[in-house]
């Protein structure tokens, strides 16, 4: 008898007063957490810093090595685009895959038990970082153009229109989205990075060779080769309506579809 009484007393004594239900976590906070997570490791920090560093190095290389008559903004823009096409997708890839490769997902997906929200926040951060990086890189390129023109002793040539500029940024954003898609699909850092180089460089070279040797492929290429249609963006102002349609069609099959498949896998998979 006495034990029963003690137990009941104990249970009522320890029951905490009911707490108010906490407010939901706002999306803006998840985005700022994801932004922080892309800076707060040594590797993440240097990856972002390398955007600026590589922009400065390529700009310096153009000033040093480009022939005098090619010291124009277009040359700088084209040169800077090359390292960006490597570094930005890697940033996008790691933001996704580190949750699995480093197993931080155990905490992230428990504190925010809606994987879609975290993925969307990561996408927002990736796009933000991508656009900011391109603006920074073009800014550095512009300074290089001024400096280069002063050294050569000519008036600086600004031969990138607003349309070209938007096209170049879109080109890099698509590269980032490809990285993002591969990250979601593979959920493994090494796999996704290797995948990106195969996708962008190996596949791109193969289709180039194929197009120059096989007539039928050259005709089909604009409708099946995403690398090719994406390349048109580097000269965006001369793109026709058909070119845009080709970009959309190839982008659907090479980007949107695999991204959708990867997302389904992310939502269903076990995090462990």
């Amino acid at each position: 008898m006495s034990t029963t009484t003690v137990e009941t007393d104990l249970v009522t004594a320890v029951a905490r007063p009911a707490r108010p239900t906490p407010a939901p976590i706002p999306m803006s906070r998840i985005v700022s957490v994801e932004l922080r997570k892309s800076f707060d490791t040594r590797s993440g920090f240097w990856l972002l810093a390398s955007v600026g560093i590589l922009a400065v190095l390529t700009t310096a290389a153009v000033i040093l090595f480009a022939p005098d008559d090619q010291i124009t903004y277009d040359t700088f823009g084209a040169a800077i685009g090359i390292p960006m096409a490597v570094i930005l997708p890697v940033i996008a890839i790691l933001s996704i895959t580190s949750e699995w490769s480093q197993r931080t997902g155990l905490t992230s997906f428990t504190l925010v038990p809606h994987r879609g929200r975290i993925i969307r926040a990561k996408l927002a951060v990736a796009l933000g970082v991508g656009v900011a990086s391109m603006l920074l890189a073009f800014g550095i390129g512009a300074l290089g153009n001024l400096l280069g023109a002063a050294i050569v002793g000519v008036d600086p040539v600004w031969d990138i229109t607003g349309g070209d500029f938007a096209g170049l940024i879109l080109f890099q954003i698509l590269n980032m989205l490809i990285g993002f898609m591969l990250g979601v699909l593979f959920r493994n850092s090494a796999g996704a990075i290797v995948g990106y180089f195969v996708y962008g460089f190996v596949l791109g070279t193969i289709t180039q060779v194929l197009a120059s040797t096989q007539d039928w492929f050259e005709r089909a290429q604009p409708w099946v080769d995403f690398n090719y249609t994406q390349g048109a963006l580097t000269d965006a102002t001369s793109m026709t309506g058909e070119n845009w349609l080709q970009l959309a069609v190839t982008g659907f099959f090479w980007l949107a579809l695999p991204l959708a498949i990867g997302l389904v896998a992310v939502f269903r998979s076990e995090v462990k």
């Binding site: 104990l10 249970v11 320890v14 029951a15 905490r16 707490r19 239900t21 906490p22 407010a23 939901p24 976590i25 906070r29 998840i30 700022s32 957490v33 922080r36 997570k37 707060d40 490791t41 040594r42 590797s43 993440g44 580190s98 480093q102 197993r103 931080t104 997902g105 155990l106 905490t107 997906f109 428990t110 504190l111 925010v112 038990p113 809606h114 269903r268 076990e270 995090v271 462990k272």
Partner: protein, 306 residues
């Protein structure tokens, strides 16, 4: 309060968690005990939505985990202390978690102090942490939002004896203030000292559950002798049921009767007492033996005694 109802998880044809039902109550430490591979971690991952269940449901504080608006403030979770980005510092990991939950920065310092990580340790990258330090950091993350429910998977792994003592006191205090604590372990003795309630799982199925007092006070007498075969024969002749423990016998009879049987058979005893907890240990050994094939060493130690 944590409720698990008819939870099942199959991987292909293999059933890792098989129709598991139990409740962890507020104000009590519930020990989730089972040998390696029993299904403890899988059950806990399902509770927090990291692994989808094949069937059945789990509830924390009366809601599905995914329906908690800000889970960190209601449930503290530590599933694997090593699952952290090796390149982040301990302090940064806590800061990120605090930021996600919407807590002020000073909470991070409070927690570091609570788990006895010094500022210089907190500034080191987790790559350089010992397992014990990682467990402390993981416990700090779980406690950060001052939740009412704690779910901890093998939190004592890697802690030194002082650390285990510290954690025991911490969890005791937590439950005494009305919190619900569920912690898993594959070591009976580790969980025996800390838990109020026990849920014992083996090969995905619950094999026993109840308060520790109930489970430990199972009937019987524990008896030790140098002549185990002789005593066993005498017990068989007296028609008494008994079973082998690691280095003793547990007999389904009271101490007086067992003493008389031994006396009439002329067998000297080295110990004779009520078998508190021996029933549980026996059950646990059977479970472990099934899965880990440790039967050899159990018999070995008996052979040495005989």
């Amino acid at each position: 309060m944590i409720k698990v109802d008819s939870l099942t998880k199959s991987y292909g044809g293999f059933t890792a968690v098989d129709d598991v039902t139990f409740t962890a109550r507020p104000g009590r430490v519930t020990g989730f005990l089972g040998p390696n591979g029993a299904g403890k971690s899988t059950t806990m991952r399902i509770m927090v939505g990291l692994t989808p269940a094949t069937s059945g449901t789990t509830e924390v504080s009366g809601r599905r985990f995914a329906d908690l608006p800000n889970p960190g403030l209601e449930v503290g979770v530590l599933l694997d202390a090593s699952a952290q980005h090796a390149g982040r510092t301990g302090r940064e990991i806590l800061t990120v978690a605090a930021h996600t939950m919407g807590l002020p920065r000073r909470r991070v310092d409070e927690m570091l102090e609570r788990v006895s990580l010094t500022p210089s340790e907190a500034g080191r990258r987790v790559r350089n942490y010992s397992l014990g330090m990682r467990q402390r950091l993981g416990i700090a993350t779980a406690l950060l939002g001052d939740p009412e429910v704690l779910i901890l998977d093998e939190p004592a792994n890697g802690l030194d004896p002082a650390g285990i003592r510290w954690m025991r006191d911490l969890l005791r205090g937590y439950a005494d203030e009305g919190g619900t604590v569920l912690l898993s372990s594959h070591l009976l003795h580790e969980i025996e000292v800390i838990a109020d309630d026990l849920v014992v799982i083996g090969q995905g199925r619950i094999v026993a559950q109840g308060t520790k007092t109930e489970l430990l006070a199972s009937a019987g007498t524990l008896v030790r002798t140098r002549d185990v075969p002789g005593l066993a024969r005498a017990l068989v002749d007296a028609d008494l049921d008994f079973s082998n423990l690691t280095d003793a016998l547990r007999v389904d009879a009271d101490a007086e009767l067992v003493g008389q049987v031994a006396h009439s058979a002329g067998i000297a005893l080295t110990e004779l007492r009520p078998a508190d907890g021996a029933g549980l240990e026996e059950m646990f050994l059977e479970l472990t033996a099934d899965t880990q094939r440790d039967t050899q060493s159990i018999h070995g130690s008996e052979g040495a005694a005989a």
